[in-house]
């Protein structure tokens, strides 16, 4: 049903808010009316933060992570190990790995995974630039850290083949296995099979 808005300014704000993922027109109206009730500076600060972000955020020319500078703080940090590159799907995945606190190398953001169903081929992703980084010679290990899905595995394999000519390069992937905290009863068979095949010395777990 066509909603009657008392103001075209309100209607515009509702329309723009409802373009956000997971936000329908009803929620958008609720958010807009909330902003009208709140102090003026709340709404203005929100609007300005979105515009500033959209206009100011760039992408690192090396790893393609978001950055405010041409080369991002991770790529330009002298304390990071620039011989190890972790290949991830998205900007968000960089945040997730950073939050583990377990990785001190650099990243390479592909911008997705190969998915012919969605029309995403290798050329839509930052794979050529990864090969160029490897070709430049500093990198000793590439860690493939893509999702354990069909598309992720396909992309892993494609990158593995593209990097195969660099015989000195170590190419690794994330361990597949039982998630910490999971009960064996509920682990799927493929994961269980893989975790059995890739079993690790128990003594190693005592060191961590």
């Amino acid at each position: 049903m066509q909603q009657e808005y008392a103001s075209t300014l309100l209607e515009n704000a509702v329309t723009e808010l409802s373009r956000l993922p997971g936000i329908g027109r009803k929620t958008a109206l609720r958010l807009a009316l909330h902003l009208l009730r709140a102090d003026e500076h709340v709404g203005v600060a929100l609007g300005e933060a979105i515009i500033n972000m959209r206009k100011g955020v760039k992408y690192c020319s090396v790893c393609h992570n978001i950055s405010e500078t041409d080369i991002c703080p991770i790529c330009s940090s002298p304390s990071r190990d620039n011989t190890t590159v972790c290949v991830v799907e998205s900007v968000k995945d960089v945040m997730i790995f950073e939050n583990t606190g377990q990785f001190h190398g650099l990243y390479h953001v592909l911008g997705g995974v190969i998915s012919p169903m969605d029309g995403i081929g290798p050329d839509s992703l930052e794979i050529d630039s990864l090969v160029e980084r490897v070709a430049s010679g500093e990198i000793k290990e590439v860690i493939l850290a893509l999702s354990a899905t069909m598309e992720g595995e396909t992309t892993n394999f494609y990158i593995f083949r593209r990097l195969a000519p660099y015989s000195d390069l170590k190419i690794t992937q994330l361990a597949r296995g039982v998630a910490v905290g999971n009960e064996i009863e509920y682990v799927d068979e493929i994961t269980l099979g893989r975790s059995l095949m890739n079993r690790t010395p128990f003594a190693d777990s005592l060191k961590q």
Copy 2:
């Protein structure tokens, strides 16, 4: 856990988005990353729509509904019945009544209901201005259209007492009864009792 953001511009946008009701930091991050992936004009249009709405929307000096002009289109329309005023809680309720297409009078937006628990007394609401509108003499009927809650009923009663001196004024309220489409089995007893007490001639329903 403290999230590491690659950009303070992104962090600011996430912080401002997470001030919206029902949007936590995780959802805010998802929305911000969506805006970064989408075309620049999408994010800029959203930001500008919010700022324009917040700076441009005023309140009608007569009915207190939102408006872009001093007197809103409903109050200034010559085709509306200016002898009937529907008293509602909020701007959203005006939209809801307009959508029914059943009301052709004017509105009066209280800005809430009396709720001592939340520190909202009659003085926080647009009740004095309602009494002034009635005192000016044109209004023949005031329809109390507040929520059928304890607070709504209290507010109804307070307004009824304030308007009692105007002996020519008709004061009505929304019919209480079984909602259209509801099964009797699931209607609460108080509603059922009221709907029995206020039963209407069956022939009337045939006219609608």
